[in-house]
Symmetry: C2
Subunit: 197 residues, 2 copies
């Protein structure tokens, strides 16, 4: 069985979004900072260009993920990626009120009105031997508190944003320690993979 | 001439102190997580035990630092290390009101009632060819904003603290980007060294 992981590009001061929704050009600059190409499911829309180490890290995620769980805010912010998620894998959206007018075009979207555990369980069943990616967003905090996240992948960006949305907020079970991470050195990014369980 | 650097043990969620002054046993667990010994100036009070990579990183800091700049809060919290700073180097304390009853016993303490720039200038003059260490604490934010810090050393600890004192607060000049860090992998810690200028 695969792992349940979460991944986020995070500034050195801990933000995944800058003040007023800014900062993305800095947070994701590493995605195109090198010359080794890693195409996603929709290569013309998103092809990473990184060093070889980051490319291997990304390839592992892209090939290894079987389903995705996100919150409603990310779904709305991306407009459901206009029907086509970059991973090309089924997406489970945790939401109190599913949109009434949504029709799948490419990616399969499932709206889960239950707790995040239920969405992760559904995603795990669909993912089979592959990983389930959760988040980013507030869903991640819930999932970590519930002990659902097995692996935390932090793409640490040499950047301060000063304010915004924090990666790890509302962790009411802190302090919590975990083991030494696996480290992969990219260009303008340090990939840190922590095992949470 | 040496560099002006700051160094801090930081939790993955960005804190250098946990809620209510807690968390130090976790933040500094890496200091004694291995079997390579790195004695400080006062070996009987503080000898690091780490892996070899961390030991080299620490040796470089311990031998390479010629003076230290701190804020009043840290001075008070440690009671001036009872007169003897672990690095055994002159300490410059930025404070509005110098203590009236302080008498140097071992380490030389100088109280600077001017801005942090003045303290760093004094420390740099004393350090000669060696580095000046600044902080940790609110002095660091001031020094970064003033462009005084050339090197930022983050000892990133696999830990969430949930709340407390943040490493990089009040960076009003954010967003600010810097280069890919040097990475050294310790036991229960990842040493990230960023060049700020």
């Amino acid at each position: 069985m695969g792992k349940v992981y979460t991944q986020a590009s995070v500034s050195l001061d801990g933000y995944i979004v800058g003040p007023g929704g800014t900062g993305f050009e800095h947070l994701f600059a590493w995605c195109t900072a090198g010359d080794v190409e890693t195409p996603t499911y929709q290569a013309e829309r998103l092809t990473y260009r990184t060093n070889a180490a980051t490319a291997a890290y990304l390839r592992d995620l892209l090939d290894g993920t079987g389903a995705v769980v996100i919150g409603r805010r990310l779904f709305d912010a991306t407009n459901g990626w206009n029907g086509s998620h970059p991973l090309g894998k089924p997406v489970f959206v945790v939401t109190h009120e599913p949109p009434q007018d949504w029709v799948d075009t490419d990616t399969s979207f499932t709206f889960v009105t239950d707790v995040v555990e239920a969405a992760v369980a559904k995603a795990t069943a669909v993912a089979g031997d592959k990983h389930v990616g959760v988040g980013p967003g507030s869903t991640v905090g819930q999932a970590i508190r519930s002990g659902l996240i097995e692996e935390l992948r932090v793409d640490l960006v040499p950047l301060t944003l000063g304010d915004g949305v924090r990666m790890l907020d509302g962790l009411t079970d802190a302090p919590r320690t975990f083991g030494t991470p696996q480290v992969i050195e990219g260009i303008g990014v340090t990939h840190l993979t922590y095992q949470l369980s």
